[in-house]
Symmetry: C2
Subunit: 136 residues, 2 copies
Amino acid sequence: MDRKAKGTYAERELIHLLWQRGWFSIRAAGSGSTKYPSPDLVSGNGLRRLAIECKSSADDRRYITKQQIEELALFAKKFNAEPWIAFRHNADWYFISLEDLKDTGKSFFLSEELARIRGLSIDEIAGGKIQENATV
Amino acid sequence: MDRKAKGTYAERELIHLLWQRGWFSIRAAGSGSTKYPSPDLVSGNGLRRLAIECKSSADDRRYITKQQIEELALFAKKFNAEPWIAFRHNADWYFISLEDLKDTGKSFFLSEELARIRGLSIDEIAGGKIQENATV
């Protein structure tokens, strides 16, 4: 798989994990390729909403531009949602708040160490009982 | 254009119209082809959120299944959003509430006449000053 296909695969995996926990979730079409800013995923459980940017350890670029972070924060604000970076490493997902990203001046940096130390697990973020066959 | 391409074209047009009016909006990837229910678009302006199912007059099927309506209503509830059917006819968009759809027993029916009489315009739904070059 090329880099884009790996990203899509990871996003679909996360969508599935969220649905299993009772979160209604959609993947944005053309995220990163349209003229309008967009998170990769949005998710809601009736009480909370999440705006999620996905990064996987297959990404060679772990730097996230300030513009991307600002757009994620603004998008989340417009949806009354929580902005999160979801980082996939060794088949685990870590949810990192924007405040916990390392500011390098021009951009923000995301490391595996930071994800392990500061990140929340999907169960900490999305909780809930897991349904094996998630349907409505 | 085939039917699917026309639908995508119409959805992109509506995304643009919403952005012009200050609504942050995304199009769902694979809407209608994934195992999970999903509206075509979600949109937010900081105060309100919309979950939108798009229909265009190119659609030969104006019947909407009860399941589709129920899923849209449930999705909207999980996002604390308003569910709307957006119907495109003669280059105009009409926003129709689920209560205004005609119940035929097994499904709901959407006619151009119903859209004209009961539908709201995009300015009635999304208001706001139009920005010619919508950016963040």
